[in-house]
Symmetry: C2
Subunit: 381 residues, 2 copies
């Protein structure tokens, strides 16, 4: 398959590119290094440097023999989008090209505006480009479980059959998110659903939970590792806790710590995206999967990291801090997630081994940790 990976430089984009390239697909990665610039601008650099995309693809070719094409530019700019689609005529588009951070989107008016503009206009440009250049190709979009928020009823996979006054209707599951970033993902889904109905696009929307980890089958050479952020803006909670444990920085639990989310290993992200591509949505179908493998409270994650770190001789404390967010700290949470298992996903669960390997890697990079990055107190109000 000829696959475009938009946002191919990111934490998930680059590992996905190698994974699909390794499976024999023809890959083009597209990025404008937005994530790198945001990290530099906000002084929250990743734990270790990673080479630029051209260098990454050279290293990957030397190791795997597979060529990955690189196109650098801004997907908000239609002239660039048209160039990319005209040059590649892809069978499939994997769309990671969004501002991905909830706390970043709450930093300032400018950050919020950029998030709305980038996420909506890039998604719209992809829709228009598919219509114009490759109307039969499928789109795999990374959504987020955060679109659902924490409703008091079970979370279904994307759709909800509602009975009301003796009549029935099936709707997109009503979503209500906890950050502006997550709200833009709701809007993305609505935008895609509109054009799926109008133009018979084939779209898979993967409602993903927080991802952890950095090792995949394709990055034994450490130069091929993804960004590893451990800050409040771009570091997902488990990755951050692992670094905090190594740094001797108390694990910061927001408020009561009962916030429950569905998590997954980065390896499973790659598998979910690949499985979705291999069994595509139909034309005129918006197919939604809830993409996570197990749920944890923040307290449980902290305890798991503390235990695994303790076995390595690290002394870890857990500290509850005032919650800078506006969110339920204890709530009902029962999301379905059978769709990807039915497609063939074999989950990589969060075992002590997984944690130990992450901890050992971070211990070897301990000198690179800048503790001032960890907790920036980005407030939701």
């Amino acid at each position: 398959m000829n696959i475009l990976i938009l946002g191919g430089d990111g934490y998930l984009g680059w590992p996905t590119a190698m994974h699909l390239s390794g499976k024999g697909h023809e890959i083009t990665v597209v990025d404008n290094y937005l994530r790198r610039r945001m990290c530099r601008d906000e002084d929250v650099e990743p734990l270790f440097d990673v080479p630029n995309l051209f260098e990454r693809t050279r290293i990957w070719k030397a190791i795997s023999g597979n060529e990955v094409k690189v196109m650098i530019g801004d997907l908000m700019d239609w002239s660039f989008v048209a160039e990319v689609f005209e040059a590649t005529k892809p069978d499939a588009i994997v769309h990671y090209a969004e501002q991905p951070s909830a706390p970043y989107s709450m930093l300032s008016r400018r950050a919020a505006t950029m998030t709305i503009q980038n996420n909506l206009l890039v998604t719209a440009n992809i829709v228009f480009a598919v219509k114009e250049f490759c109307s039969k190709s499928q789109i795999v979009k990374i959504g987020t479980m955060g679109e659902y928020g924490t409703p008091n009823i079970d979370i279904e996979e994307g759709w909800l059959e509602v009975a009301h006054q003796n009549r029935r209707e099936k709707f997109l599951y009503p979503r209500q998110a906890g950050s502006l970033y997550h709200t833009t993902k709701i809007m993305d889904t609505d935008l895609l659903w509109f054009y799926v109905r109008m133009w018979d696009l084939a779209v898979t929307d993967l409602m993903q939970g927080p991802v952890y980890g950095l090792f995949t089958d394709e990055n034994n050479d450490h130069r091929l590792l993804p960004f590893f952020n451990y800050d409040e803006l771009f570091g997902t909670v488990l990755n951050r806790f692992v670094v905090q444990a190594v740094a001797g920085y108390p694990l910061t639990v927001y408020g009561k710590g009962g916030q429950t989310r569905g998590y997954l290993n980065i390896r499973d992200t790659l598998n979910c995206v690949r499985l979705s591509l291999e069994k595509p949505a139909e034309p005129g179908q918006l197919r939604i999967f809830n993409q996570f493998t197990e749920t944890f409270t923040v307290n449980e994650l902290a305890e798991r990291v503390k235990k695994a770190a303790g076995a390595l001789g690290l002394k870890v404390t857990i500290r509850s801090v005032e919650n800078p967010r506006k969110e339920a700290e204890e709530h009902y949470y029962n999301p379905r997630h059978t769709g990807l298992l039915e497609l063939g996903l074999k989950p990589n669960y969060l075992t002590d081994d997984v944690l130990t390997r992450m901890l050992e890697f971070v211990m070897a990079h301990k000198d690179g940790i800048k503790t001032h990055q960890i907790y920036k107190k980005v407030k939701w109000d």
Copy 2:
């Protein structure tokens, strides 16, 4: 009350400005003449010319003695937004400042992108400006009944209590719109709802049906009339049918003509906005009203116009044309609309008198009708 009317030059904006000014409120109208430019660019000018905003306010002052302030600029530009809010410190903001046409939003990629960008970024700027300059003031936003689409269950006023697997949750009513424009209004509502929860904004979202008419208590002087568009892009269906009847142009019904919507007289728009302002939403409340007074199918509207025109000696034919839109032509439609009645709305229904007065006015302007504007066949695919 010190009230900002954003989009104060528009079909509804200017009549609202005079209405509220006449009731003793202090009014500032803000506009960038986007609607005028779009009409010129697309060659769909209104039936008669209207003076610019400065001239309109001079005429209004000469007649009523009331001053209305004018600020011209683009509300996507934060520096202008900040200037407006700093200068006015409004108690209330009436937000009409959006690209308001469904067919326009389906014209081209550029039109779609502009609609997304304008509608979302202006709404976001209003939220940020309220937070920064006047956090206690209320926002009255014009939404659209089109956000709901045509679901197979009753349409409630904004919210839906869902029972699912023996648990309950109240959601924003799930919405699924029929055009990109309407989809951006869904996004607007989601954006406002997010910041209402985060920042305790007080917001009323008026889900309005198609408006008809042009006469209000404040515009007996015809220089104060609103734009009157009769084209497929900016003319709402009843206004368009009235002009078609006068021009001897068959009334164009899309497909079967069973499309049902909730309609209202322009006088009622003004009353609904005023009633909402006078009894504002609470801080932290997103209050949603369905703003229409009666429902009609397109076939019924065509018959009503034909009958009233016939009584004036006009010979009118009704012609079904291939539906350029992708929409249900026969469907269930039962939307509630009690909230505004409870606030005190006294509806102006679509009587033969109302139609006759509109027809007579248009007959007097018959020379200005350009029939090539009426049906442009903007296709949804």
